[in-house]
Every structure is written in structure tokens, then in C-alpha cells.
């Protein structure tokens, strides 16, 4: 294992986070505060509680997931796409680094950044609402695995993308509707039966539901199902990556 290389890539990526500290850290704090003001105060005044949880607290796991997913996909994809775009990828490809080490470096950094921002949002949210975490280990399980698997997903997008249009396609067009319609701001019980059924095809529903369960023990779907779904997604991402590495798809061909 080329530990020095993993460290180099990881800290190189984290250095970019440091350079862009303002937009990396301050902007999620501001947007979370805005969500709380708009959703928590305006809508929360009308919807007092969902399943016995105050509305402000109820939306917190969804807000964290919304940011975690977009941040992890964004960081994971940008981290590998940008060297491809500028051409500096030549150096990584000509180094004695295995693909696993490349992934550990890039995806590790993307997930770390996502987790940092998720934690900041959690802390910001705790200023607005009373939060208690019923199952801390389960919470860490969902938090970390979501960060890792979506960073991997972003990494795959970064390798696949041939231009900035493709790079932004999934994070901008696919993820937000999935998150918003995945029960971030409501319980799917509140939907008509048809849309409830449709919602069950949305994988993000399971992530948010499982994550919310770890806080309040209320969920739209069985948390075990949520855990299985996230593990399946992780496995799918790892399998796609294994194929990419074997074939050199869009990297070495």
C-alpha cells in the first residue's frame, strides 16, 4: 500500500477545502439558517408536529442529507474531473498508485468534507431546535455510509463526465428532486396513496428515513430496509468502480 500517496492526494484535496473555506463552510451555515427561517418558522408555525416530533427538528435530518448528498457528489466528482480537465491527471496515472489508493485519497477527502459540513449543519440546527439523537451509532452508520457511497458515486460521475455540463447533470438535475421528494420536509404519510407508492421507488427516501429514525425513532420505512438500501448502493458503486479500474474507462484508454 502506497500510504504516502494516499496521504498526498487526501491532503491535497483537503487543502482545496481550506482555500475555499468561505464557500465550503459559511455557505451551508447560511443556507441551513435560511431553511430554518423559511421552513421552520413559516411552515413550522402551521405544522406543529409530525409523528410527535417538532417540525423544525423533523426536517433537520433531511436538511443534513440534502447537503451531504450534493456536497459529496460535488466534491467526489470535481476532485477527479478537475485534474482530467486541466490535464494534471497525468501525474496520478503515472505514479506508483493503485486505483484503490486513488479512490481512498479522493473519495476519502470528499467524504470527509461532506461529513464536516454535515456536522456544521447539525450544530447550526441545534441552535434553532432541540435535537436529541436516540441511536448515535445508527446515526453515525447512516451519516458515514451515505457520505462514502455518494462520494464514490460522485467519483464515478467525475470519471464519466466529458464536460462541465455532464459533470453537473446528476448533482443539479437528479439529486435535488430526489431529496425534496424523498421526505426531507414532510412524512410521506402526508401524501396521497399514489404518490406514497411512487416515493418508495426513490432511493433517497430510505436514506432520509433511516437517518431520521436514528434521531427520533420515527421513520417512513423500516430502518433495517434503509440500512440494506445504503449498503446495496455502496456495493453497486464499488462494482462500477471495479469495472472502471479493470478497463481503464475514460482514464487510461
Amino acid at each position: 500500500m502506497n500510504i504516502e500517496a494516499i496521504k498526498s492526494i487526501y491532503f491535497f484535496e483537503m487543502a482545496r477545502t481550506r482555500r475555499t473555506l468561505l464557500q465550503s463552510v459559511v455557505s451551508p451555515v447560511i443556507s441551513t439558517s435560511l431553511y430554518f427561517i423559511v421552513f421552520g418558522a413559516a411552515i413550522g408555525a402551521r405544522i406543529q408536529e409530525i409523528n410527535g416530533v417538532s417540525y423544525g427538528a423533523f426536517i433537520t435530518p433531511g436538511l443534513i442529507m440534502l447537503t451531504l448528498l450534493t456536497q459529496c457528489i460535488g466534491n467526489g466528482s470535481f476532485g477527479i474531473y478537475f485534474p482530467k480537465f486541466t490535464g494534471t491527471i497525468y501525474e496520478v496515472l503515472s505514479s506508483p498508485v493503485s486505483m484503490i489508493e486513488i479512490v481512498l485519497g479522493y473519495v476519502g477527502a470528499a467524504a470527509t468534507k461532506g461529513l464536516m459540513i454535515g456536522t456544521i449543519i447539525l450544530l447550526t440546527a441545534s441552535l434553532f431546535v432541540d435535537l436529541s439523537i436516540a441511536h448515535p451509532l445508527a446515526m453515525i452508520f447512516f451519516f458515514v455510509l451515505t457520505a462514502v457511497s455518494f462520494s464514490l458515486f460522485g467519483f464515478i460521475i467525475g470519471i464519466w463526465a466529458k464536460d462541465f455540463e455532464q459533470l453537473n447533470l446528476i448533482p443539479m438535475l437528479v439529486i435535488p428532486p430526489l431529496v425534496f421528494l424523498g421526505g426531507s420536509f414532510y412524512s410521506i404519510d402526508m401524501l396521497p396513496p399514489f404518490w406514497q407508492a411512487v416515493s418508495h421507488f426513490n432511493p433517497v427516501l430510505y436514506l432520509i428515513s433511516g437517518f431520521r429514525w436514528s434521531f427520533f425513532e420515527v421513520s417512513d420505512v423500516n430502518p433495517v430496509v434503509s440500512a440494506v438500501i445504503i449498503l446495496v448502493f455502496l456495493t453497486v458503486c464499488l462494482s462500477v468502480l471495479a469495472w472502471i479500474f479493470r478497463t481503464g474507462y475514460r482514464l487510461r484508454n
Binding site: E4, A15, P96
Partner: protein
């Protein structure tokens, strides 16, 4: 001694169907400077990219110090430094960080003293804290060389290292290359400046259309292919070459004011003495004589032209 790099029957066909390499075989000796010459699109960069691990080969093998570049990539890539053709740098990184990053990527423990030496050798020390985007093109080129040297490679690939680099920087770059060679580093370079290859290389390889046309010791190549020309300026123009001189295959140029004689320096007899005697005998009066040796550039044009 076994070659440090051994390429056998290497081929590469890109997804577009373009055949960049068609069964290239090439041995690179330890400690030599090999210049690869070839027109644009000849396959030089593809060849280098495969040896360095950036591009997967379609067929054939490459061994570096006996290790296969695909199977034993850790061993081979640890030994190789690459300076790419394009000026690809991370705009927002500092010189020091980017060079340190390169060393880490190659699995080497941090060694600030070595990085400092490399930066000083390349006159980059006073720029170490500058962001790369603040540097000129020539300096970026030196940063790329510093990155390649950061992990103390035994084989260094320089892909068009002097493209867009001014004369004084080019000279200092070649001094660095000379020092590296003296320390035992094998150097493979591609260049469009053929006079550079002529000056610095031990051996010359010519590649065109994905095939190696020749690889030869530079001086042997020059003497083998290097024709000399004797130019005789005449006092009075001639209408035609006199019949008595037909054995010399002379050509008449400059409206009959000049006779050109091609000869081979490696032949036992150049025929110059007898030609001059024959000219005197034919009553041709000479105004001036000069000789000219064909340069590597002439040779290159001749080889590539013949291959077409």
C-alpha cells in the same frame, strides 16, 4: 548490460480506431540520452504515455529494469519521472506544495532538503511560495521538471521540454539534463528542435506513422547518412557538365556558375583530388570551393520522407 527500458512489439489502437503505434520495438540503454524525433502525430507521446502508465497498450510489452509496466507498475513507475508536453499545472497551488505532492504520490517520504535542491537547481527557489498561475510559461515548464525530479527517478522522460522556452532557459535546462546524465539518470526526450537532439543525444530514434524507422548512435548515423557536398563556384558559366566529368555525377546549378559534387566521407576515396585534377584538365576555371555536411535535420527529412 540489460537495457533499462525494453519495448517489444508495442501497439496501441485508440477507441476511435486510430492506430497510434504499430508494433514498436525499442531498447533504451542505461545512462544514455535518447532523442525521439518524429513529426506531429508520429506516436511519440503515445509511446511515452504507455511506458509511464498513462495509456493502456493494445498489445506488446514494456519492461523497465526487467519489470513489466502493467503487472509491476509500482516498481516501474517509481523509477520513472515524466515531464509532459502540455503545461498542465494546478493554478492555485504553490510551487513548493505541488513539487512536494509529486514526491508523496511516488510513495517517497517527505524530504524537504531534496525538494530544496531540485528547486535551486532549476532556479525556482525564490518562487517556491508563488502560486503556479503567477508563473510564466518557462517557469511552469521548470516546475514540471522539478515535479518529475522530486522522487529521484532513474529514467526521465522529457516530452518536448523546450517547446516555447527561450534560449537562455533552454541552455540552463540542458545543463540540468547533463548533470542528471552524469549522475546516471537515463533520459528520453522528444523534440522538434533537431539541432538540440544533435547536440545532446547519444542515440537518435526516428518514429513516424506509429513505427520506429531507425534507432542509431548519433555519430554513426551522421556519418552513415551524412552526405557531404563539395560546391565549386566557376569563373565562367558552363552550358553543360563536360563529358570528361560524367563519372562524377555532377550537377550544374546557379545558371551554370556552380558545380555540386556529392561524396561520402566514410568511403575510402572521396574522389575530390581526382575531380579537381579533371576540372583543371577540362579547362574549367575555379573561383571558389566550399563543402557542407548535411545536418541531422536533413537526415530526418530524408528518412521521414522516404517512409511516406
Amino acid at each position: 548490460m540489460a537495457p533499462i527500458v525494453s519495448v517489444s512489439n508495442l501497439s496501441k489502437t485508440y477507441a476511435s480506431g486510430f492506430k497510434a503505434l504499430k508494433g514498436v520495438s525499442l531498447d533504451i540503454e542505461q545512462g544514455e540520452i535518447l532523442a525521439l524525433l518524429g513529426p506531429n502525430g508520429a506516436g511519440k507521446t503515445t509511446l511515452i504515455s504507455i511506458i509511464c502508465g498513462i495509456v493502456n497498450p493494445s498489445g506488446g510489452t514494456v519492461l523497465v529494469n526487467g519489470h513489466d509496466v502493467v503487472r509491476d507498475f509500482r516498481e516501474t513507475r517509481s523509477m520513472i519521472g515524466l515531464v509532459p508536453q502540455e503545461l498542465t499545472t494546478d493554478a492555485f497551488e504553490t510551487v513548493w506544495n505541488t513539487v512536494t505532492f509529486s514526491r508523496g504520490l511516488h510513495g517517497k517520504k517527505p524530504n524537504p532538503a531534496h525538494i530544496e535542491k531540485v528547486l535551486k537547481d532549476l532556479s525556482l527557489w525564490d518562487k517556491k511560495d508563488n502560486m503556479l498561475r503567477e508563473l510564466s510559461g518557462g517557469m511552469k515548464r521548470r516546475v514540471l521538471i522539478a515535479k518529475a525530479l522530486s522522487h529521484e527517478p532513474r529514467v526521465l522522460f522529457l516530452d518536448e521540454p523546450t517547446a516555447g522556452v527561450d534560449v537562455s532557459l533552454r541552455k540552463s535546462m540542458w545543463e540540468v539534463v547533463e548533470r542528471l546524465r552524469a549522475s546516471g539518470v537515463t533520459i528520453i526526450l522528444t523534440t522538434h528542435y533537431i539541432e538540440e537532439a544533435e547536440e545532446i543525444a547519444d542515440r537518435i530514434g526516428v518514429i513516424n506513422g506509429g513505427e520506429i524507422l531507425l534507432v542509431e548512435d548519433k555519430t554513426a548515423l551522421m556519418s552513415k547518412l551524412g552526405r557531404k557536398q563539395l560546391r565549386v563556384d566557376l569563373s565562367h558559366p558552363l552550358d553543360a557538365v563536360p563529358d570528361t566529368l560524367s563519372a562524377y555525377n555532377l550537377t550544374l546549378e546557379g545558371d551554370g556558375h556552380c558545380l555540386i559534387y556529392d561524396y561520402d566521407t566514410s568511403a575510402d576515396r572521396t574522389g575530390i583530388t581526382s575531380l579537381l585534377a579533371a576540372l583543371a584538365e577540362a579547362g574549367v576555371r575555379l573561383k571558389d570551393i566550399s563543402t557542407r555536411q548535411s545536418s541531422l535535420e536533413d537526415i530526418f527529412v530524408e528518412i521521414v520522407g522516404a517512409g511516406r
